[in-house]
Amino acid sequence: MVDTSRSPTESSGFSRKLAALIIIIYAVVTLIPITWIILTGFKSVTSSITYPPEVFFEPSLEGYVNLFTTRTRQSQEYLEALPPPETWYEELVRSREMVIAGPSKFFGRYANSLIIGFGATFLSVFLGALAAYAFSRFKIPLKDDLMFFILSTRMFPPIAVAVPIFIMYRKIGLGDTHLGMIILYTVVNLSLAVWLLKGFMDEIPREYEEAAMIDGYTRMGAFFKIVLPQATTGIAATAIFCMIFSWNEYAFAVLLTQFNAQTAPPFIPTIIGEGGQDWSAIGAGTTLFLIPVMIFTVVLRKHLLRGITFGAVRK
């Protein structure tokens, strides 16, 4: 018997199940480290370093408390002389025979990451969209060569030029500044943004902006009111790629930032507790670090899925 309920171009039930199985296995394998990191964030310091590792444990917010505070160890007599703790986290810290000395640098580093990540993403997409529009619509001398030149900036790993950039940044005073990092990440992202967005702009029929120009708008007005809204898909996809890069970038952040503009990636691994790495605080920091980029991706996901198949379907 031939199954006529499905079209011959559809895959069969068996191959679909097989595909689903492979995807599930792949997802589980890739999610194990992330799950482990999130679990570690909810372990106590002692539980996080026990061997063999504990899969079932008593959850604790010690990691999060340690992440946001600096603490000093005090003698038993000193602790007893203090007034009773006012908050749950003070109590938690005192049970470890310590007192809170002040806030940690994590909040500042996290804010730096947000400023630099979103700043660089916005700038890359904005400049990329302008350049892509120009490449898509105007007659530009040596257009193909320029496009290739822009792409060629990604033909080596960005870190290969770390030394000249380090020296340059020190000379012009951009080292360890937010602006410096935003510019750097924008430069790295821009070639991707221009290429990706040009593809999307090419897909938008010229008639739309011509109609807007006839309706009384300048080319710039038509670009912002008509072209950009229609390139939303491309802009979302490009923004996600740029955001993931700027948010996760580690090497340049280690090299160029120290105090003022240090981002979270170089900071988190350096969280040190007593007697070595404070793994539960690192787990907590990493968990919090994952959240913004996840929200960003989920919010734009709808566009991303459509965006990656760009060119496949018109409009």
């Binding site: 739309y208 011509e210 109609a211 807007a212 120009m213 006839i214 309706d215 809204p229 939303t232």
Partner: protein, 362 residues
């Protein structure tokens, strides 16, 4: 409303000349059609009038004001695109309001105008719909609405019915013409479809290879084509051409074809070309038992009251429009004759019609 004048207009892209030295006056309130095969420069001409393309040389006058190098936004002209170009991220109402917002109208005035236009075009019920949910004809109406709502000096339309299906196109043809009669706006309409051009235009300009070859009323252009190209492009089926292998004398009023004399209109000019063509419309040809050109019926298209026969002869293939009463089996031998009074002689070298008692060139 206003008059559009093109003076010596020329446009070339690198080596390719898209529009060659064109002069044209489009009168106030006129429905003017630019007709020609694809790639003949008609759309380029229209885009130059709109300001979407700048001419290489020449002038464009709008109401006697030189607008040649003005931006599209400064010309006060509306354009309806073939693909409508409705802004897909706005609903119908916002599409209609878009050109008005730029001109700084008050909200109440914008709403009033949208109401007027949507009533005129019968799209009131669509105002809150998304553009993507509209049918082809409704999109067409909205696109027209967006053009009308601004009350511009002139409308330019670039094959606006090209994407509609045949039935709908006919309906929209009527609607467009009615709309023009109502609002009396100067309209320039570009099409490659001669039926559209004939049924809507007050006057038609036929273009080919970047040149305006003839302009006049649909009747003039159909009955008195100035060149062989116009004769073959206008009319469905096209004009028939019988080759004549000798030159034409001045004042000649007889032409011999296949040993028979035909009384053609007396020619005023002559030609030295060794090959010329006699052009005859399919409805001026008929089958006969007496003298005529022998041929074989090759094809027969049944069109209700009439049918069109394709007949192969030693002078080429002819299309003959006959009543469906005429019995002509495919493959049978027939003789064709024609009414010589409306025949036009075309110079085989220059392609131009030779002036005669029937056709006068200006």
């Amino acid at each position: 409303m206003s008059e559009i004048k093109l003076e010596n207009l020329e446009k070339s892209f690198d080596d390719f000349v898209a529009v060659e030295k064109s002069d044209l006056t489009i009168q106030d309130n006129e429905f003017f059609v630019l007709l020609g095969p694809s790639g003949c420069g008609k759309t380029t001409t229209l885009r130059m009038i709109a300001g979407l393309e700048l001419p290489t040389s020449g002038k464009i006058l709008l109401d006697n004001e030189d607008v040649t190098f003005l931006r599209a936004s400064q010309r006060d002209i509306a354009f309806v695109f073939q693909l409508f170009a409705l802004y897909p991220h706005m609903n119908v109402k916002k599409n209609l309001a878009f050109p008005l917002k730029m001109q700084g109208f008050k909200k109440s005035e914008i709403n009033k105008r949208i109401e007027e236009v949507s009533e005129l075009l019968r799209i009131q019920h669509l105002l809150n719909s998304k553009v993507s949910s509209l049918s082809g004809g409704d999109r067409q109406r909205v696109a027209l609405g967006r053009a009308i709502v601004r009350r511009p000096k002139a409308f330019l339309m670039d094959e606006p019915l090209g994407t509609l299906d045949a039935e709908f196109r006919e309906l929209m043809c009527l609607e467009l013409r009615k709309l023009h009669n109502d609002i009396k706006a100067t309209t320039v309409y570009v099409t490659h479809d001669q039926l559209e051009a004939m049924s809507m235009g007050d006057r038609i300009a036929v273009m080919n290879k970047g040149k305006i070859i003839q302009f006049g009323t649909p009747k003039d252009i159909y009955l008195k084509p100035k060149t062989k190209f116009v004769g073959s492009f206008i009319g469905s089926p096209a004009m028939n051409f019988i080759p004549i292998h000798h030159s034409i004398e001045k004042n000649q009023n007889k032409i011999v074809i296949n040993g028979e004399n035909y009384d053609v209109p007396q020619s005023f000019g002559g030609t030295n070309s060794s090959i010329n063509y006699l052009g005859i419309r399919p409805e001026k040809m008929f089958l006969t038992d007496k003298k005529g050109i022998p041929g074989v019926v090759f094809g027969s298209e049944y069109l209700g009251a009439r049918k069109i026969l394709t007949i192969k002869s030693e002078f080429g293939d002819f299309k003959v429009r006959v009543s469906n009463q005429v019995n002509a089996q495919i493959g049978s031998n027939v003789k064709i004759n024609f009414e010589p009074k409306s025949a036009i002689v075309f110079d085989g070298t220059t392609d131009k019609a030779i002036e005669s008692r029937y056709i006068k060139l200006n």
